[in-house]
């Protein structure tokens, strides 16, 4: 070894060391930037909510809470809301997790087509999905009543509401569990089967416990979504005077001046409840190693062979998709061909036409709205999942004592009513002239805020499954924290991040309420056109727009499926 080599070696080590020090600062720097961005995105609507809820005539007041709790019928509405939320959450978890297991972990035939079709309820605006179920299960005009004469089940009931809400949320659960199951080492289940456990016992005692983070986090999401739901309860509960909390108080927001305090009081109560649930979730997941299925051992994904049950399970899966996806789509498709809705009959089929599709294509700004929406969805989904991957690292890996606070802040937008979110952003960004208001920028902010709680759930679920030894190994080998995050953690999180990306891209495409207050003529988006058709009162035109959205996103989804599969995303 020559002196020059030694000198050169020292120089190389110094350069590596200073590079490592700079890289080591990268992750903390990104963390700080992420925290600032999340805080700004969330504090705007939260600040608005707090001010409107806790002040009256410019001074501190709890009058909003007194008014909310004193609303006529609030007791019955609270009971109905609780039953509705619990029932719909339980059903959604059952249906979504079972679907994900069958499609991701077994060798059921037709799973590629099924895995795309199960997402359709996510694509449709919930108001259209609910209308499709009215067309199917209304005791007066429903298909079931007309064809089978069966009126014992009415969609206009708490059970009916809960069922439709569950079916609308099941794709969200499916995406979350599919990311989890895709990352699961099958050898654990194989060991159980070799040990004599049945498939059901294996699922119950091995698979589900391993998926505990996903179970808890999606339960929180679904429960909160149900408590906050408005469109399904107003369509299916109001006719028989089954009020939930949101439908009981929605008129308060329509007053002048709008009584945001009442709506805010409900949200504040939800925020408190949610924080407690997250703390509970935190305690339940203390022993994080028990869910870590992505380890240094590596695994090759093998599907569970269903054997003689293969075709029966296939039939069951297609029956589920047939009832929950194909049938509502058929009803909407039929409605789109009618000048006015009438229960299906030969006479009605004789008058069917595709005129509404031609009218839709001729809608002013149709093409611009579609383009704006695609751009918005892609930008929002990408930016949000990258941001939330850092939040997930903070929450799960950083070791910060108050990391749960970060998760709670990122989850707060879930309980802020859509209208209040829109009003808050409108108020702030029209006063603080950053050049965002009046263009697509304000919509990007609105969507990122609204879907942050979902993004953080998908990202965290993915992070929880990764054995922390993998990161430690990278660090011991000399990689900086940033390098470990980018080179080790992110690739392993890919299935969960892709699942979150898909979810956010789809729901932002169909979100009716967020853009209503914020769009301008230059930033019109597709959901606004759907909303206008809905408010025009033309069910056929609204159904037409819904069908166009479904076909468009299915085509895009089919085209994107190949690169997503190759990226190790949602397994199909």
């Amino acid at each position: 070894m020559t002196q020059s080599t030694l000198v050169g070696g020292d120089e190389h080590l110094r350069r590596r060391s200073s590079t490592a020090r700079r890289s080591d600062l990268a992750l903390p720097a990104v963390t700080v930037v992420t925290l600032v961005v999340v805080a700004v995105l969330v504090l705007v609507p939260l600040g608005f909510l707090v001010v409107k809820t806790f002040t009256a005539n410019g001074s501190f007041s709890l009058a909003a809470f007194a008014e909310t709790l004193g609303y006529p019928g609030v007791g019955a509405a609270l009971r109905t809301t609780a039953v509705f939320a619990v029932l719909s959450t339980a059903l959604a978890l059952l249906l979504g997790s079972a679907t994900a297991f069958v499609l991701v972990r077994t060798d059921v035939p037709g799973r590629r087509a099924l895995s795309v079709l199960v997402l359709v309820p996510l694509i449709l605006p919930s108001v259209l999905y609910a209308m499709a179920w009215v067309f199917i299960a209304s005791p007066q005009i429903g298909l079931v009543e007309h064809v089978l004469g069966w009126t014992s089940f009415s969609v206009y009931s708490v059970v009916g509401m809960a069922l439709v809400q569950a079916l609308a949320m099941a794709p969200l659960v499916y995406l979350a569990f599919s990311g989890t199951f895709a990352s699961m080492d099958p050898s654990l289940e194989e060991a159980a089967r070799v040990g004599g456990a049945s498939a059901v016992a294996t699922f119950r005692r091995v698979t589900l416990p391993l998926a505990r983070p996903t179970v808890l986090s999606t339960a929180v999401l679904c429960f909160t979504l149900s408590v906050e739901a408005f469109e399904i309860p107003i369509l299916l509960g109001l006719p028989t005077k089954q009020f939930t909390l949101t439908t009981l108080i929605y008129q308060a927001i329509g007053d002048y001046p709008p009584n945001y305090g009442v709506a805010g009081a409900v949200s504040v109560l939800l925020v408190v409840a949610l924080a407690l649930v997250i703390l509970g979730q935190n305690r339940a997941m203390r022993a994080t190693r028990s869910f870590q299925t992505i380890s240094a051992k590596g695994f090759s994904s093998r599907r569970l062979a269903l054997g003689p049950w293969r075709w029966a399970v296939c039939g069951l899966a297609w029956f589920y998709v047939g009832v929950t996806v194909v049938l509502p789509l058929l009803m909407l498709g039929y409605a789109s061909t009618q000048g006015f809705y009438q229960p299906p009959s030969w006479a009605a089929f004789a008058t069917a036409s595709l005129k509404s599709y031609a009218d839709a294509a001729n809608t002013p700004s149709f093409a611009d709205a579609a383009l704006n929406t695609v751009l918005l969805s892609v930008v929002v989904a990408t930016a949000l999942m990258l941001l939330m991957s850092v939040v997930a690292w903070i929450r799960v890996r950083s070791g910060l004592r108050l990391a749960w606070v970060v998760e709670s802040i990122a989850t707060i937008p879930l309980v802020v009513p859509g209208l209040i979110l829109g009003v808050a952003l409108l108020t702030v960004y029209v006063n603080v002239d950053l050049g965002l208001y009046g263009g697509l920028g304000i919509l990007v902010i609105a969507y990122m805020t609204r879907y942050m709680p979902f993004g953080v759930r998908y990202a965290q679920n993915a992070m929880y499954q990764i054995d922390d030894h993998l990161e430690e190994s990278a660090r011991v080998s000399g990689a900086s924290r940033w390098r470990s995050f980018v080179g080790v953690l992110l690739p392993l999180m890919r299935p969960g991040l892709v699942a979150g990306w898909v979810f956010i891209a789809i729901v932002s495409f169909r979100d009716l309420s967020t853009p209503v207050l914020l769009y301008s003529s230059d930033s019109k988006v597709f959901p606004v056109l759907v909303f206008e058709k809905w408010q025009n009162g033309s069910l056929s035109q609204a159904a037409t727009m819904g069908m166009i959205m479904v076909v468009f996103l299915l085509v895009v989804g089919a085209l994107a499926a190949v690169p997503i599969r190759r990226s190790g995303g949602v397994r199909v």
């Binding site: 006529p72 007791g75 005009i141 009020f243 007053d255 006015f340 809705y341 002013p364 029209v430």
Partner: protein
């Protein structure tokens, strides 16, 4: 010599050319020098004395000289706004940027922009009676004394906004299920008790009918009880346009306060629905147009408002069944003279809370238990 002559001719021609240009320019710049009106009052002064096509032509000239986008904020439904914008563009050549939202959402946006002194907000506002009263009270509108208002029912004319069409709340029925339509409100509320669809939000319709019944000699309690008993077993609905569709589908036989224009459009498209002969009195709520106090496009705004209040009323009646506020164009005011009750302003302002509470009690029940 020849060269000199050619040169003199060339110079002469050049001077003629320069003079011609100067005169043309001078003539043109004389017109350009005329100051452009920058306020609605100046625009109205510029067209004062002009009528009909001459007035419109002058307004179009002034509007085309404005260089900022012209913005319409409207609470009319999307198809109506699209049709208005297209028709206005074809009639005048002026492009419109439109923003459309529900009545209350529109108000939220308008007030927020106003409080922030937002520079690119609405030039013209179009909303229902209640919201226009709010805009007027908040100083968002400016006086607009136009001769077009002369033909309009005085009940719809204010100093700073004018009713452009009248939304009617009508009792409507499915003709396949109802062969003997109701003739009066008492007939409807008693004969169809338990079979009705009642709107959860129409306290103004309810208040107006109760007030009319009181004028006819009934006590307010008795009138409210008539509605309360009819609401027992009724279906509650939230959206007028959706309810009209469900009525056509046969979900319920009778609905209490559908929008008349929606029923007319559906009937024209073959739906088995009707509202005529009307159950009277008919409750009506005007939707009006006003010019923003801060508009940078006063000529475009005046042009649009006068166009919309003029023969566009007939166009909108033919296309969408929107009942004009000028009876010469037809509509419900002409068809049912003396039988249309306009919602009183105090019903939707000072007395609003009382009527809302009473209506909620009537249709939802007040005991904390659901009824029906």
């Amino acid at each position: 010599m020849e060269t000199t002559r050619v040169g003199r001719v060339a110079v002469g021609m050049g001077m003629v050319g320069v003079l011609t240009l100067a005169c043309g320019t001078g003539g043109g710049s004389g017109a350009a020098d005329e100051p452009r009106p920058t306020t609605v009052a100046e625009v109205l002064a510029a067209v004062d004395g002009l009528e009909g096509p001459d007035r419109r032509t002058r307004l179009i000239e002034l509007a085309k000289a404005e260089d900022r986008p012209f913005r319409l904020y409207s609470a009319s439904s999307g198809d109506v706004v699209d049709a208005e914008v297209k028709a206005f563009g074809e009639a005048t050549g002026i492009e419109v940027e439109s923003y459309r939202a529900s009545a209350t959402d529109l108000t939220q946006r308008v007030l927020t922009e106003h409080q922030a002194h937002y520079a690119d907000g609405a030039d013209v506002l179009f909303n229902d009676y209640k919201q226009m009263s709010i805009y007027s009270g908040q100083g968002l509108l400016q006086p607009f004394p136009t001769p077009v208002a002369q033909g309009i029912d005085p009940a719809f004319v204010r100093s700073d906004w004018i009713g452009a069409w009248v939304a009617t709340y009508v009792a409507a029925w499915n003709v396949n299920q109802v062969t003997d339509p109701p003739r009066s409100w008492q007939d409807l509320l008693t004969r169809y008790k338990g079979k009705l669809a009642i709107f959860d939000v129409d306290y103004d319709w309810f208040a107006t009918l109760v007030q009319d019944m009181v004028r006819e000699g009934m006590s307010e309690d008795a009138a409210a009880n008539l509605f309360r008993e009819a609401a027992q077993g009724a279906q509650l609905v939230d959206q007028h346009t959706l309810a009209a569709n469900l009525l056509a589908a046969g979900q319920f036989p009778v609905v209490t306060s559908a929008f008349g224009y929606r029923i007319d459009v559906m009937k024209k498209n073959g739906a088995p629905v009707d509202w005529q002969p009307a159950v009277t009195p008919i409750v009506a709520l005007p939707l009006g147009v006003g010019i923003s106090a801060t508009t940078d496009n006063p000529a475009s705004a005046v042009l649009y408002a006068e166009w919309r209040l003029g023969d566009a009323q007939r166009t909108m009646l033919d296309a969408f069944g929107l009942s004009p506020t000028n009876p010469q164009y037809g509509g419900v005011l002409a068809q049912y003279p003396g039988q249309v009750r306009i919602v009183e302003e105090k019903t939707v302002t000072t007395d609003e809370a009382r009527w809302k509470a009473l209506y909620a009690d009537v249709v939802r029940g007040s005991s904390g238990k659901v009824t029906g």
